[in-house]
């Protein structure tokens, strides 16, 4: 079985580095983008199996990216995990509105993240 391809879209390079280490240690393939536009492009071109999407992104913010992907027939089946420090009810709601499949808050428990990823990939 080939490794699942995960796309991390986050402008925190340190975080992306940590995350990648973790994920690769768990047998995932990781690609990343550091802004919204890049993220979109990579999503469309790479067609990952899952997207981990930070909300606060330059160029195009995470919500928009999510929406654009989710409202596009070609990409909507890709599960998206929204990844953010914002925990307001409105933020969560917004997340749901744009079609995110999961929502993880920072700082995160690695186990939780891994569980969610596995869960979503199983579908």
């Amino acid at each position: 079985m080939s490794k699942a391809k995960l796309l991390i879209i986050d402008d925190e390079s340190d975080l992306v580095e940590m995350l990648s280490l973790r994920l690769e240690a768990n047998d995932y393939q990781v690609i990343s983008a550091s802004d919204g536009q890049d993220g979109l492009d990579k999503a469309r071109s790479e067609l990952p199996d899952l997207i981990i999407l930070d909300v606060m992104l330059p160029k195009i913010d995470g919500y928009k990216v999510c929406r654009m992907l989710k409202f596009d027939e070609k990409y909507k089946q890709i599960p998206v995990i929204l990844f953010t420090a914002r925990t307001q009810a409105s933020d969560i709601k917004l997340g749901a509105d744009v079609g995110a499949d999961a929502y993880i808050t920072k700082p995160f428990e690695p186990d939780i993240l891994l569980d969610k990823v596995a869960q979503l990939l199983k579908k």
Partner: protein, 1070 residues
């Protein structure tokens, strides 16, 4: 008949009297309103005719002479003229047009013609026939016809009067010396008396008396002295008395006259007899004896001597006609000599037999006594004669008889003359009686009038609602009206005789007394009007306006005074109130403007002047539009006028212009003033200068906006900060985890330990950051609670599960106490409440070494109370108040386990209070600690708040008004609870009065929230009033009005409140 003839003089008296009575009765009727006939003229007729008849007495008594006859004729003519006048005026009254004057001329001519035809008697005849008969007959007919025209029951009497006068007219035709034609008919007094046995005057008198009686009866009836049952007892008696008196008078008069007549007759008889005796004694009997009673005596000296003597005696006695000597010879009475000269036709020759001598005369002849022979007739006439014997003194033989004849008429006249005295006495008696009667009648009438007028006066003053009284100059009350008596709590009669000091306390009485005396002392009397305090029967003080006037008595001097009291207490009170109100308006800090119905100013108060700069005189008459700045649209003013012209009240704000041009804002309330018919007469505006207020509000709004912006900024800041802080934390933590998890390679235990420590502290940092953010959010109200119905049992069980192990690890028992009954749900943010439990139970475990931790709950009415109690070290008293403060921790002695942040309790408090619950602590050193908090039970009201807050949001965004009305139900103790049905019914009624679909009504317990979007204060007030009325009617119809009441409050966003709490509190009236 003869007797009546001899009573003629008295009969004339009675006859005259009856006319007199007729005349007097007629005069009574002058004032009669019902039959407006010229009674005055009838009266005049009566009086003059009475005079005529009484003059007739004189003609009988004293004898007639032409001058006297003319006088009488004139009088009678006059009386008939009066009667004619009566007829003529009655005709006028009857027909409305006068009888032609030509009617009377022929009659008058006829009357005058009498003179030509027969002098006195002719005139008498024509007078009586043509004037007397005609006038009385016409009077009778007119009266009768008039009676037919009348409607009242008394008309029969008028008709009867007519009949009597008509009958009387016929008796006029029977006169004393008619012309030759009528000599042998009944139309002759003498024939009448011969035929009927009584003189016609008696008949006339009777008819006139009947006429007079008829008039009197009529007068009695019209005076109301007779009622349907006939005369009133008193009147009946009086009439009887008068009638009898009159009868007695008449009869006694007759008797007196008779007696006097008889007396004088007797004296005359005696006189005559005495005369006869004297004459007989004077005659020389010897000479008489020489007479042979034959023609041979003529020429003899004895004869001549005797004749001369007789003549002399006759001449000496004027009233004697003949004096003669007679002798009884062979059964016949013969004349010897008489006083007539031989040549006279009346003389008797000696020896002439007196053939007419009756046997009685003959018998008497021989009786040797002087005797009178009364009223006999012989060939010489009718005589009364006295006979006296001439006695021969020598042998006492009767030689002859002296006879003296007096003409019967002369004798009668003498008698009548003497009777005149009697008649005069009767006349005086009658007049006296009449005068007495009249005086007593007048007296009685005047008394009655006084009584009636007094009765009227009493009725009049009794009808006056103000107390009225009158008193005499001594100050004693003579009378009063009902109101006066009632005021002092007395009977009307009881007041009479009392004075000032009996009715009033000394102070008041003294003042009034002085005023009374002052008035009485004024020469022409006077009036005084003054105010006085008077105590009434209950002792209550009334301020009275007293009006006192003196009145004069019949002698012109002051007899007393009349007073009227007017209770002006109420008026005075009203004056005071009015004054106070006036002052209130004058001194009001609010501007008051009053206009007439066309909007022109009629009054402004000083505040207006102060605010607008327009003086009082400047403002009067002007229209308030002089204050208009051009800032407000025409529709605004149109709406104002439409509202107030329709009779409603308008509230709003004006942006007005002062006289100097500067602008200001005022909040105004304008209402119409209506009169009793509901017609608008004025408008009143009460205004308040709100320029300052508006400025402040504007500032506030700006500041608020700024604050909100700031708030938003803070929110963003916090979000940003939290993101910024968390990101490096995440990275660091992940980095450490990676190494710890061996992803980068293996590590030694020591490295592991250090790394683990680091990781734990990262976590701690994260927790602090979370708590800080939390508390920051809570304090700035930016926490959104995600509320839903939560079953608290489940909640507790979850919490229990979470901490069970922890407690066990420390050797503590964690106990849960749940009540048996199924409780209601809690409407809470589950996660947050779990957070609270976590914090409290965590603390409990931390600070307890041994024992147990209890979690229990109790249900209250509106809330559920949770208690977390432990058997730990407790909290010192001085620390208790600071327990919920930030960053304070006590007893850090507790070792292993998570270190606290010092924020947990303040977060817990914030969260609980956000749920509208309460939290507090009970503890003491070594006594363990109890934390108690309450959470409200779920009810519909929670939803309402969301609605309201949404509506506020909307109004804010659309810049419209939001009006909220809260109706709070208040009910008496009699009602235990309000049924759901009732609440629903009331909600339905409220709903029915909200005409727009965007208006809502929401139920709270015992409250209704009515939310009207895009609705300003005026409309809101109108809707509120509508609802109020509808519910009031509902309560009344269901007999709830005494037990229940709804209190209404209104609040407008944003004018009066800017958030949910503000709105609700204002509307609740808090």
């Amino acid at each position: 008949m003869e007797f009546l003839k001899s009573q003629m003089d008295y009969i004339f008296f009675i006859y005259g009297m009856s006319f007199f009575i007729l005349a007097s009765s007629s005069l009574l009727l002058i004032r009669d309103q019902k039959v407006k006939l010229p009674w005055f003229w009838l009266g005049l007729f009566g009086f003059t005719h009475a005079l005529n008849e009484w003059l007739d007495i004189f003609s009988i008594s004293v004898g007639d002479n032409p001058v006297f006859g003319m006088l009488r004729l004139t009088v009678i003519l006059l009386s008939f003229v009066f009667l004619a006048e009566f007829s003529w005026l009655s005709f006028l009254a009857l027909k409305g047009r006068p009888l032609s004057q030509w009617f009377f001329i022929p009659w008058l001519l006829l009357v005058y013609s009498g003179w030509y035809f027969g002098k006195d008697s002719g005139l008498n005849f024509t007078c009586r026939y043509f004037l007397g008969f005609v006038s009385s007959f016409s009077a009778g007919i007119i009266l009768y016809l008039h009676a037919l025209k009348l409607k009242n029951p008394q008309r029969r009497l008028i008709a009867t009067l007519g009949l009597f006068i008509g009958a009387y007219s016929f008796t006029q035709l029977i006169i004393s010396s008619p012309p030759a034609l009528l000599n042998n008919t009944l139309l002759n007094q003498d024939n009448f008396i011969r035929f009927f046995g009584f003189p016609v005057q008696l008949l006339r008198a009777a008819l006139i008396m009947c006429a007079a009686f008829t008039i009197l009866t009529y007068w009695y009836l019209s005076q109301g002295l007779l009622n349907s049952s006939g005369l009133g007892k008193k009147e009946r008696r009086r009439v009887l008395l008068i009638g009898s008196a009159y009868l007695i008078l008449a009869i006694s008069g007759c008797l007196i006259t008779q007696k006097i007549g008889a007396y004088f007759r007797q004296s005359n008889v005696d006189e005559l007899s005495a005369k006869a005796n004297t004459v007989s004694a004077a005659v020389n009997f010897r000479r008489v004896e020489t007479l042979t009673a034959s023609a041979a005596d003529i020429g003899t000296p004895d004869y001549e001597r005797l004749k001369e003597q007789l003549k002399a005696i006759n001449e000496a006695n004027v009233d004697l006609t003949y004096v003669y000597l007679m002798r009884f010879d062979n059964g016949r009475i013969v004349f010897l000599a008489d006083s007539e000269p031989d040549s006279s036709a009346n003389s008797s020759t000696p020896g002439q037999v007196y053939e007419e001598a009756s046997p009685e005369l003959k018998a008497k002849f021989l009786s040797r006594r002087t005797f009178i022979v009364d009223a006999y007739t012989d060939r010489w006439g009718s005589w009364i004669s006295a006979f006296a014997p001439v006695v021969d003194l020598r042998n006492n033989k009767i030689v002859a008889l002296i006879g003296m004849d007096m003409d019967v008429n002369i004798w009668q006249q003498k008698m009548f003359l003497h009777r005149l005295l009697g008649i005069l006495i009767s006349f005086c008696m009658f007049i006296l009686f009449f005068v007495f009667f009249v005086i007593s009648r007048i007296n009685r009438a005047s008394n009655e009038r006084i009584a009636v007028s007094q009765k009227h006066l009493q009725t009049l003053i009794d009808n006056i609602p103000s107390p009225v009284f009158y008193k005499n100059t001594q100050g004693a009350y003579l009378g009063c009206n009902f109101a006066f008596a009632q005021f002092f709590g007395l009977d009307k009669k009881a007041v009479i005789g009392k004075n000032q000091f009996d009715l009033n306390p000394p102070g008041i009485a003294e003042i009034n007394y002085k005023i009374d005396m002052k008035l009485f002392s004024l020469p022409n009397g006077g009036t005084k009007i003054y105010e006085s305090e008077i105590l009434d029967a209950q002792g209550i003080k009334h301020i009275m306006l007293l009006n006192k006037s003196t009145y004069p008595g019949p002698d012109g001097k002051i007899a007393g005074l009349v007073g009227v009291m007017q209770d002006i207490t109420e008026r005075k009170n009203r004056e005071i109130r009015l004054l106070a109100l006036n002052r209130a308006v004058e001194q009001s800090p609010a501007v008051v403007v009053i206009t007439d119905k066309d909007g022109n100013i009629t009054y402004v108060n000083p505040k207006f002047v102060q605010l607008t700069g327009y003086g009082y005189q400047e403002a009067i008459g002007k229209n308030p539009r002089i204050l208009r700045s051009e800032e407000q649209p025409r529709e605004f003013y149109k709406n104002l006028w439409d509202t107030i012209l329709a009779g409603g009240q308008w509230r709003g704000e004006f942006h007005n212009k002062r006289k100097d041009g500067s602008l200001y804002w005022e909040s105004a309330s304008i209402s119409p003033v209506k009169d009793s018919k509901g017609v608008i007469t004025n408008f009143i505006a009460v205004k308040e200068d709100i320029t300052e207020r508006k400025r402040i509000l504007e500032e506030l709004k700006q500041k608020n906006t700024a604050l909100e912006k700031l708030d938003q900024l803070k929110s963003d800041f916090v979000s940003m900060v939290s993101h910024e802080l968390r990101t490096p934390l995440s990275i660091t933590k992940e980095g450490i985890s990676l190494v710890l998890d061996g992803v980068t390679g293996s590590i030694n235990p020591k490295q592991g330990k250090i790394l683990t420590t680091s990781k734990n502290n990262i976590d701690r940092l994260a927790r602090i950051i979370n708590s800080l953010l939390d508390i920051s959010k809570i304090e700035s109200g930016r926490v959104e609670l995600k509320k839903k119905n939560v079953d608290f049992r489940g909640l507790i069980k979850n919490v229990f599960a979470a901490f069970e192990n922890k407690a066990k690890e420390k050797g503590l028992e964690l106990r849960i106490n749940l009540p048996k009954e199924q409780g209601p749900d809690l409407y809470i943010d589950e996660d947050r409440i779990i957070q609270v439990f976590t914090n409290l139970i965590g603390n409990a475990i931390k600070f307890t070494e041994r024992g147990h931790i209890d979690v229990s709950l109790a249900q209250k009415d509106e809330e559920v109370e949770f208690t977390i109690s432990d058997t730990g070290i407790g909290i010192a008293a001085e620390d208790l108040p600071k327990v919920f403060n930030k960053f304070l921790q006590f007893g850090r002695a507790a070792g292993a386990g998570e270190k606290g942040t010092g924020l947990g309790l303040s977060i817990a408090k914030g969260l609980i209070e956000l749920h509208r619950g309460r939290i507090w602590v009970e503890s003491g050193p070594g006594k363990g600690t109890k934390f108690i908090f309450t959470l409200p039970k779920y009810h519909e009201g929670q939803k309402a708040r969301e609605y309201i807050e949404d509506a506020i949001e909307e109004a804010n965004k659309a810049n419209t008004h939001l009006t909220s009305v809260i109706a709070t139900l208040a009910y008496s103790d009699k009602i235990k609870s309000i049924s759901e049905e009732l609440m629903r019914e009331m909600e339905k009624i409220i709903r029915s009065k909200l005409y727009r679909s965007k208006d809502l009504v929401l139920q709270y317990p015992k409250e209704f929230f009515i939310l009207m979007r895009d609705c300003g204060k005026n409309s809101g007030v109108m809707v509120q009033e509508r609802i109020e009325q509808a519910l009031r009617i509902y309560f009344e119809n269901n007999n709830l009005a005494n037990e229940m009441k709804l209190n209404f409050g209104l609040a407008v966003y944003p004018d009066e409140a800017i958030n949910y709490h503000g709105l609700v509190n204002k509307a609740r009236g808090v």
